[in-house]
């Protein structure tokens, strides 16, 4: 128990250092921009906005992935499993095709958030009625909703003109350069609310690892807690997606990796996943900015390419230690 506590503390101390390093990294070299010039200050603000966005989005995805993996008791569970990515993409696409984006910069994130949120609400309502939020029902309903929405999205894409098609595709790849502080602030508040809700359910999340029936025996009011956790995870995910698009892999890989590092107890896992999820995405985004500078690659490419092999390595390493007691 003690080594994992030490690891947790080490992880928590590394996070701010990593964030500052990423803030300093730029295509022109390492170090903060010259703040005495107007351009320097603008550049710094842009980078700061980007680091904050990356952190908030990564934290939200890892946090809700962590909570969903606990209640769905499925290794493949991640924030998008309940259909939010398809829902949000459809919402974003609709605002682009209908021209609503031209009215206000908030239209696109709002559209993505609303449709993504509605999708999750629908998935939760159907699963609650059909199977008392049993993991299998939730996943099944999520997959069905996802494919239905993807088809709708394809329909929209087929009918869209080239320009709209291009912006929809770019949005779907994910991008962490937020357009305004106001937007980041709104999203941060939403994510903070759902984080507070999830953190307040740490004992319940632990008990739910034993299945919802046993959790109820242990004193978890599952009829309230399950919809609450689902709702909070959904809120965090749709807020994150509305800000940055569908960045894959963070919500799947970060909780899994940390479970192997700090253990499955949510009292450590949830804060660790939140902080490391944020830091991981910021690092990946920094790489996305710099690797092919001046060109930028979608951050989702980096998250998958760097997180995947690392996770496989952990899987193999832990497997070996289990084999030789």
């Amino acid at each position: 128990m003690t080594p994992s506590r030490t690891t947790t503390c080490l992880l928590l101390l590394t996070v701010p250092v990593v964030l500052i390093l990423c803030l300093m990294a730029g295509p022109a070299g390492f170090g903060l921009p010259d703040t005495s010039t107007l351009a320097g200050r603008a550049l710094l603000e842009l980078r700061l906005l980007r680091v904050v966005t990356g952190f908030v989005v990564g934290a939200a995805l890892a946090l809700s992935g962590c909570a969903l993996q606990a209640i769905l008791r499925n290794a493949l569970a991640e924030p998008y499993v309940l259909g939010v990515s398809s829902g949000s993409s459809l919402g974003a696409a609709l605002t682009i095709v209908t021209g609503l984006v031209q009215l206000t910069p908030l239209a696109l994130p709002a559209g993505a958030f609303v449709v993504g949120g509605l999708t999750l609400l629908l998935v939760c309502l159907v699963s609650g009625r059909a199977g008392h939020y049993s993991p299998n029902t939730l996943i099944l309903v999520g997959v069905v909703a996802s494919s239905m929405l993807s088809s709708l999205l394809m329909l929209v894409l087929a009918l869209a003109d080239t320009l709209a098609l291009h912006s929809i595709t770019w949005w779907m790849m994910g991008n962490l350069q937020a357009t305004s502080w106001t937007l980041v602030l709104i999203v941060t508040v939403l994510i903070a609310i759902s984080a507070a809700l999830l953190f307040s359910q740490v004992p319940a999340l632990n008990a739910l690892l034993l299945g919802s029936e046993t959790a109820r025996h242990l004193g978890v009011e599952t009829r309230i807690v399950l919809p609450l956790v689902l709702g909070a995870a959904a809120l965090a995910t749709s807020a994150a997606v509305s800000l940055a698009g569908c960045i894959g892999f963070v919500g799947l890989i970060v909780p899994h990796t940390l479970r192997r590092v700090v253990g499955a107890n949510h009292r450590r896992l949830l804060p660790a996943a939140t902080l490391c999820g944020g830091a991981f995405l910021v690092v990946c985004d920094t790489l996305a900015r710099l690797l092919f500078a001046p060109r930028e690659v979608p951050v989702g490419v980096i998250t998958a390419l760097s997180g995947g092999p690392f996770f496989l390595y952990l899987l193999l390493r832990n497997h070996e230690t289990h084999e030789t007691p």
Binding site: M1, P203, N206, L210, R216, A264
Partner: protein
């Protein structure tokens, strides 16, 4: 402690319990036996309030269907048939799950929580395993830990659903001895579903026989474990062989001669 009066219950319209009345006094200990599908687990689910039922039920002074889960869990603990075994928890963390009903929001355990966990692990002989991973435990150790989880909640009533089914001879006897000790020393009321009738006759002074949702018999092993009753319940001829030295019986299915 457990009062069920004229309970009727159904799963998807199919009746699973018909007019079952059952009373267990504080500190009593009883075995629940019967063939597969007799309604044993359903009866436990009626007691925990998970299965809606007609009739009156009072468990530890309250109606389980109305009581909130947190309050109920402090009085009634359940040891399920099998718990997931792949959770990467150390034994201590696992047993701590039994304290869920006492933890505040955000879940920081207090000294009282730690003491209750340590005591539950002491009683079940698992304290020395506390740092070991759950995944590395044997079947017997895991079953003792499952009981420790239940005990950590400091319940008045312990419901067990076939805890001995995966255990070998020695572990079965050890487990039963542990349960009887808990019943004697702490006056924990115990109701246990068990398939092994011989083991039931050896350790329980009261046996309740269910068949097709009906309570067929309720009494001492001698009163309940009768060939005619068992044949009616299980639908096969049964030999009940008295073991005079042990004051118990051995129950064997009678094989039809070919």
């Amino acid at each position: 402690m457990i009062h069920l009066e004229h309970i009727h219950a159904a799963y998807n319209g199919q009746p699973v319990l018909t007019d079952v009345s059952l009373h267990l006094a504080h500190g009593e200990c009883a075995a629940l036996v019967g063939p597969n599908g007799a309604g044993k687990s359903s009866l436990l689910r009626v007691i925990t309030g998970q299965l809606p039922a007609r009739g009156s039920r009072r468990i530890a002074g309250g109606d389980p269907a109305r009581c909130n889960a947190r309050e109920f869990a402090r009085h009634v603990a359940v040891v399920p048939q099998d718990l997931p075994q792949d959770i990467p928890f150390a034994a201590y963390e696992f047993v701590s799950l039994g304290r869920t009903a006492y933890l505040p929001r955000f879940g920081t355990p207090s000294k009282a929580d730690h003491d209750a966990v340590q005591e539950a692990m002491d009683v079940t002989g698992t304290w020395h395993l506390r740092h070991r991973a759950l995944t590395a435990m044997s079947g017997g150790e895991r079953q003792r830990l499952a009981i420790a989880v239940a005990l950590a909640a400091q319940p008045d009533i312990l419901l067990l659903d076939e805890p001995t089914s995966h255990l070998d001879l020695r572990h079965r006897v050890d487990l039963m001895a542990l349960l009887l000790r808990l019943n004697r020393d702490r006056k924990i009321t115990i109701l246990m579903v068990i398939h092994d009738l011989t083991l039931a006759s050896q350790f329980f002074s009261r046996i309740i026989l269910l068949s097709q949702g009906i309570k067929l018999a309720d009494g001492t092993p001698a009163e309940v474990l009768r060939p005619d009753l068992l044949e009616a319940a299980y639908g096969c001829p049964v030999n009940v062989i008295p073991l005079p030295d042990l004051a118990t019986v051995c129950v064997l299915p009678a094989l039809a001669s070919t």
